[in-house]
């Protein structure tokens, strides 16, 4: 029996597989046994009630999809009255994903959601910062630091910070989040993208731009997870294009302590259970008693005897 449990700061998860925000909800209970998952992550919640973006909100691309759902939020009261009691009936910890247009907004929302039944806050700082020209918080070290500092003072819950992949250098942003008090990083959100219908000359999304997700983005986000994991001491949760256990193993080897699965659940809502079973088989096949030992286990230099012999040949 492999030990599949992983530790994300103070939180221990039964296994490293959880849904990505915005791709999970009560409806998944119809297709799989929710108790099998490592954790639950809610759709991003905002304080204000919002309708979300114009339609169409999704478009297919090669090996993935674009979405511009926006954050159609039903607000805090709906979360406390409906979402929280629904998931309270299950064992995995509930992670509340939140977003706000200002650092102060993040803080007050985190405080409002720091209630029994919420195991951690995931701050989706990939959203526009109204105090900085609408640039996403996570595109700058300074705005990342400001948002995370405000969050840190507002909640005693474990604080996960979800980064955007839409940056030139992600490691400095990761360090800014760690320095400001993040307990873990989620890497990453969707990649800003565009698709045009050449018959109508119109963008395929009502919002023009959208976020690319799915298998197409995996190698890019995998690279960013590796860069972040080397830059910080806190755990990194990998998220981007994971569709099977092999993808998940790749993320663990790159330095992730756990993984989130999004788009793949749209093709197969039971995929996360399959990934967990596949991870178990992988560990057995490689004689690994603890899955957590895979984290950061990618080998970058060869230390095999023959090559060392070449470096210092016997006289």
């Amino acid at each position: 029996m492999t030990d599949l449990s992983v530790r994300i700061g103070a939180l221990t998860l039964a296994n490293p597989v959880m849904p990505a925000s915005g791709t999970f909800g009560e409806g998944m209970a119809r297709a799989l046994d929710l108790d099998r998952l490592g954790a639950f992550v809610t759709k991003t919640i905002t304080r204000e009630l919002r309708l979300g973006n114009p339609l169409p909100r999704v478009a297919e691309t090669a090996g993935g999809m674009l979405n511009s759902i926006g954050i159609p939020s039903q607000g805090v009261a709906h979360f406390l009255e409906h979402t929280l009691p629904f998931f309270a009936a299950y064992a995995p910890p509930l992670i509340a994903s939140i977003s706000a247009p200002t650092a102060e907004g993040f803080a007050s929302l985190a405080a409002a959601l720091s209630v029994p039944g919420v195991a951690a806050i995931e701050a989706n700082i990939s959203c526009p910062n109204l105090e900085a020209d609408g640039q996403a918080f996570a595109m700058r070290e300074a705005s990342t630091g400001a948002a995370v500092r405000a969050l840190r003072t507002a909640t005693a819950l474990p604080l996960w910070v979800k980064l955007t992949p839409n940056v030139g250098e992600i490691a400095p942003v990761a360090r800014a989040a760690e320095d400001a008090g993040a307990d873990a990083l989620v890497v990453a959100n969707t990649i800003l993208a565009l698709s045009i219908d050449i018959e109508t000359f119109r963008p395929r999304l009502g919002n023009v731009l959208g976020g690319l997700s799915g298998p197409a983005i995996k190698p890019i986000v995998l690279r960013q997870v590796w860069q972040c994991a080397r830059a910080v001491r806190i755990p990194v949760i990998g998220c981007g294009g994971i569709s099977d256990a092999a993808d998940a193993v790749e993320y663990l080897l790159a330095g992730a302590s756990a993984v989130q699965v999004g788009t793949a659940s749209f093709r197969d809502p039971t995929v996360m259970v399959g990934i967990i079973a596949g991870l178990d088989r992988f560990c057995e096949r490689h004689d690994l008693p603890r899955l957590a030992d895979l984290t950061g286990a990618m080998r970058t230099e060869e230390t095999d005897e023959p090559e060392l012999a070449w470096v210092s040949p016997v006289a």
Partner: protein, 266 residues
């Protein structure tokens, strides 16, 4: 939406082109798929074709479900990448389906006679309702609309169920909203319209909504919207409704696809 939805690999039993645009598939499927109710739908993983591989599943109404025989059938219009791949399936091949999904039509046992009004691919969605209503002892009048007579589908299913069928087409100039409204008013006046059901046309929905509001008749509409998850999780499939004077969004896959026609906008 309640009950289990499963991912199933089903065997294609029959794959038939019905006319220039429509195709029918029948597959062998165990419960819960075979227990799908009229108005519910499945998310189909459409096979690759030379034109490409669809990434997302495609929503498709249950055209027929037979729990005893363990069969489910779909009737669809071949429109793009996904449906072209579906139409290319042959008997013996595999179709991956997720479902049953969504809330189907509801029938009040107190109703004695219902009216189904649909157009185009919407007729596939309405057809099993006709059979269910007849099975519950209700009379069924079906007004079926198409561009031209050769593109009419599901009329045979309605007739086989014992419905009284009226065909209207663009080619014959009988499918306009004004003429359809006259037909409906005739049925209402004759006391043969305890409830209205519609699918497949925004213009027909408009007629249904007006009459339903005017005469206080219950009315249900099965709506379509592009989907990704089919399980209420992604919020890409919303439509607008007016409820108590307020406009709000509902998810077609999870809150519907069958809704109170009097609340549906556009």
């Amino acid at each position: 939406m309640t009950g289990a939805a499963t991912v199933q690999q089903t065997e294609v039993l029959e794959s038939t082109a019905l006319n220039a645009e429509y195709h029918r598939l029948r597959v062998r499927a165990a419960a819960p798929a075979a227990t799908a109710r009229p108005g519910q739908f499945f998310q189909l993983l459409c096979p690759a074709s030379p034109a490409g591989t669809p990434f997302l599943r495609r929503p498709m109404s249950v055209f027929g479900a037979d729990p005893a025989a363990g069969e489910v059938s779909f009737l669809f219009k071949v429109t793009g990448l996904g449906t072209r791949g579906l139409a290319g399936l042959r008997a013996g091949e595999t179709l991956d389906l997720l479902g049953p999904l969504g809330n189907g039509f509801t029938l009040d046992p107190a109703w004695r006679h219902i009216v189904a009004l649909g157009r185009g691919a919407g007729l596939a969605t309405l057809a099993p309702l006709g059979a269910a209503a007849r099975g519950a002892g209700m009379g069924v009048s079906a007004i079926l609309s198409a561009r031209r007579p050769t593109l009419m589908v599901a009329d045979d299913a309605f007739r086989a169920a014992g419905a009284e069928v009226t065909l209207v087409t663009d080619a014959e100039g009988t499918s306009g909203p004004a003429h359809v409204e006259r037909l409906l008013r005739g049925l209402i006046a004759a006391g043969r319209c305890d409830a209205l059901f519609t699918c497949g046309s925004a213009r027909l929905l408009e007629v249904v909504r007006r009459l339903a509001q005017g005469f206080g008749i219950p009315a249900q509409v099965a709506l379509e919207q592009q989907m990704a998850c089919g399980l209420g999780m992604c919020f890409c499939c919303v439509r607008a409704f007016r409820v108590d004077g307020q406009v709000l969004h509902r998810r077609v896959c999870y809150d519907g696809p069958v809704f109170d026609a009097r609340e549906a906008l556009e």
